[in-house]
């Protein structure tokens, strides 16, 4: 394990530093990383791309004692592989830009590729990792609802080995996950999409590069549909009543029914993007449009 004073690591003169000095550990393996994180101190945290953590550090919300960087762990956690049946395995340290440009992803889950175009910006995508994107549990992110809709699963590594869970079980609440402090997301698995059609609709209330006010992900085949809302809820949420209202019908009326059911069932949050009252109207419309989008795929 290389542990350096971050002063030295950042290499700048004192005035260039944007955060207070702290210790940065660079483990060479996932096991070592987990070992370094096995600590009750909340000021010890893992860091992937750091795009979210650095904002929290600059604003003083988080003052680390030690950051455990995952950048030097085994390279297999940065790669994307495909099984013969089309199952995608995405290492947790894969950057969003790698995912954006991956031909395997484009072939097996093109909806992910399309979603990347408007996810944050090129500078963020170049460093942010999919593991960090999920573990941060910010409800205003784009991939969580989409991965839930696609039926993706996570492999979680901990001191006592690995466990796998559906992506939706990762999120406990607003910025809260079910991960234990000595656990790390190791891999995201996206099952074969086969005849399933999917769509992600990002809707921003302010500038185009804003976080979504509402994110709607849908995946459907002839008989089933998964409809998931993000950003306007405390965590990515499947809309069971909307799915039921849609059933196996795919006509305009059924799509409207699903939208109305979604507006009735979802518990929406008011924030700077808009009031819950407004988001309810948006949800009604955007669920229908997302379903239309999927059917056009």
């Amino acid at each position: 394990v290389v542990v350096a004073e971050v002063d030295e690591y950042l290499g700048g003169e004192e005035a260039d530093r944007i955060v207070r000095p702290f210790e940065l550990a660079m483990p060479r393996s996932l096991v070592e990383a987990i070992d370094l994180l096995d600590h009750d101190d909340p000021a010890v945290r893992p860091i992937g791309g750091g795009t979210a953590l650095m904002l929290m550090m600059k604003s003083g919300l988080f003052r680390p004692q030690r950051l455990v960087s995952l950048r030097a762990i085994e390279s297999r956690f940065k790669t994307i592989t495909t099984d013969s049946d089309g199952t995608l395995h995405i290492g947790a340290m894969t950057t969003l830009a790698t995912i954006e440009r991956s031909s395997e992803i484009r072939r097996h889950a093109p909806v992910i590729t399309r979603t990347m175009r408007r996810l944050a910006n090129a500078r963020v995508r170049n460093v942010a990792t999919i593991g960090g994107h999920l573990a941060h549990a910010d409800p205003h992110l784009d991939l969580p609802p989409l991965l839930v809709a696609l039926g993706a699963r996570l492999t979680i590594a901990g001191r006592d080995g690995e466990r796998t869970i559906p992506v939706e079980d990762l999120f406990r609440g607003y910025f809260e996950t079910t991960l234990r402090h000595n656990e790390l997301i190791a891999e995201v698995t996206v099952p074969p999409q086969e005849t399933q059609r999917s769509f992600y609709l990002k809707w921003t209330a302010r500038s185009a590069d804003d976080w979504p006010a509402l994110g709607i992900a849908v995946a459907l085949d002839e008989h089933h549909a998964r409809i998931v809302v993000g950003a306007a809820t405390e965590k990515p949420t499947r809309l069971a009543a909307a799915e039921a209202a849609l059933g196996s019908a795919r006509d305009e009326k059924a799509l409207r029914r699903a939208g109305d059911a979604a507006a009735d069932e979802a518990v929406l949050v008011s924030d700077q993007h808009g009031s819950a009252v407004y988001k309810k109207e948006l949800l009604r419309v955007l669920v229908r449009r997302a379903l239309e989008g999927a059917l056009q795929q």
């Binding site: 005035a15 185009a208 009252v277």
Partner: protein, 763 residues
Amino acid sequence: MTEIMARSQVGRSLPRVEGRAKVTGRAEYVHNLRLPGMLYAKVFRSDIPHGLIKRIDTGAARALDGVHRVITGEDIRALIPNPYYGPAFHDQPILALDKVRHIGEPVAAVLATDPHIAEEGVQLITAEYEELPAVFDEVAAMTSSAVVHDVLKPAGTFPDLKHLEGKRGTNVALDFHLRRGNVETGFAEADQIFEHEFRTQQVMHTPLEPMVSVAEPHDNALTIYTSSQSPSFVRIEIARLLGWPENRVRVKVPYLGGGFGAKLYIKLEALVAALALLARRPVKLALTMEEQFYTITKHPATLRIKSGVTKDGRIIARRCDVWWNGGAYADIGPRVTQKSGFTAAGPYDIEHVQIESYAVYTNRPPAGALRGFGIPQLVWAYESHTDLIARALKLDPLEFRRKNILREGKPQATGTIMRDAALDLVLERLALRMNWRQPFDHGTGTLRRGRGIAIGFKASIAPTTSVAIVNLYADGSCGLYISTVDMGQGSDTAMAQIAAEVLDIAAESVRVVHPDTDVTPYDMATLGSRSTYHMGHAVRLAAEDARGKIAALAKELGLPQGSNVPLPELFRRKYGMQAGNIVGVASFVPPYSSPNHETGLTPNATPYWMTGGTGAEVEVDTETGHVRVLRLINIADAGTPINPRIVETQLSGGAIMQLGFTLTEEMVFRDGQLTNASLADYKIPGFLDLPAIMENEAVAAVEHSGPFGAKGVGESATFGVSPAIANAIDDAVGVRLTALPLKPEAILRALHAAKGTPLPEGR
């Protein structure tokens, strides 16, 4: 002197002279400055909007390793007995004294060898306040029992503020009144009366280089390096605060990463000066983007307009009541109230006009100058109002404007005769570019389209002075010494072109010496689109002075008139070697008559007028309220451009900035607390928000009183953007928004209300 014998340097689209240094990272900024022994300051700020300071506990901060000193307002009062500054009122303490008046007000400063230790020190300071009732709304503040300043303290330099001296129990910092004709008579004669109220939100300049200043104490002197638009003002005001002569204060300004009015007058300079003198070491203070939200903003305003109109669509009377929310300190707000206030009735020929314009103190962060200096707020109101009247009278909005537009030679509301304002030309070019006569496809289903136009005008701030020095060195090369600040607007390039034109040399060869008050002469400030006109004239005159001195030298050397001996040769003949200088100096101040205090009338309100018009085509999603601007056309009268390409980029830049103020930007307050003081939640437009089509045009015009026919253009494209878009939304979907920003939620709510199925109120 004759490496390129261009016929004309003025009128060339010369690329910016500093462009290469900027894109290669070699341009100089204060952020990069480090001095030996320099301390870093961080600021402890008030977390309440209004209250008496009971106690400031700095003990823990002082005990922190690496902290050099912690300074409060009382420490500064010991150094400077009356530590209040401001361009119009001496109302702003260097650090809060006795009370705090807005959230984010500087209360104490921590000095440390490392900015992070200073920041940590700030976290350890605590303050106790006795909270006072606060007022945030500009109309409520007119009658509120919460009074922000116990006593008004106008700066002695302005005779028109004298009557406010010592006034108590009021939040009104300045009231401006204009009476032309008799508005009540006009209303009585009118066939129809229209009355509307409009509001604008508080926004921020968002220069990507946040404010930064460094002060370096010397024996009996002080040097301030600062990211400022007004180095001459900084010198004068710091000297006044310290009771020193001007020649002991030196202010140096390199390039700025944007200013837009945020970096005018005193921002951090008084604080770093006091800190450096107390610590006896150089001190640097660099704000974060977040801190800028608490430092200076754009005035929110409430605007009421009432018009009397005849059957045939002539506006014969208009009354405007405007309340400007200046926040806790006046800054330049009173000047916004007056200098912009007198155009509140719009660029129309109206017989009876009454204007009541009030600068009001509230417990919000201070407001000052921001690109347009109040004009975008006024145009927002009068051009929305104009469109509403045209719609109600079933008149074409263009025809209605044509009928009423203020034409050349007619008196404006102040009585000043319009000269070279090109209002009608801007309107006609707008109509042409918008294909206004052609039928317009309003769309179907849930995507509806609409179009709208708006036009506004602005007077230049007057009277103001610029001084320039042209220095010709022994080899004939030229240095231009000016205190105009190139903050990205291209002034170095334009001024080099003007000097080169007169001296008959290539503009590229002119060296522009950046503001350094020990070296470059006085300039009022880089603001209000005044530099091209005022400094442009001073540079022209200084270059002409230099030419005159060259001719005199030739004559002295016995050369026949027009002998055309190169300058280096003249110097050699005079001094026997490569030696000497020719120094051309000139100052420029245009004529001006200040308005009568009771009537607001004056025969000469401004040296020149700036005109800007915008046309917008929008698409509204009727199911979400989302608006896309499909086409944005910006037309301005810039006189005859010195540099046409830079004029075009000033137009597009101004319009895009105002697009943000129209659609997305808003400082959101809850109980006086700003809830979105970061670029994560305060959204400026990105590339994907730009209109698919943007056209910018400076009309073919001449400002006969300007240097080479030119005048300022930095603000003109901001004027019409907001009302043009609101007018286009109304054209598309038949709903009218009267408050900025034009948020999709507000549009959807208005659409539901228009259908008779309003959405429930509340969050």
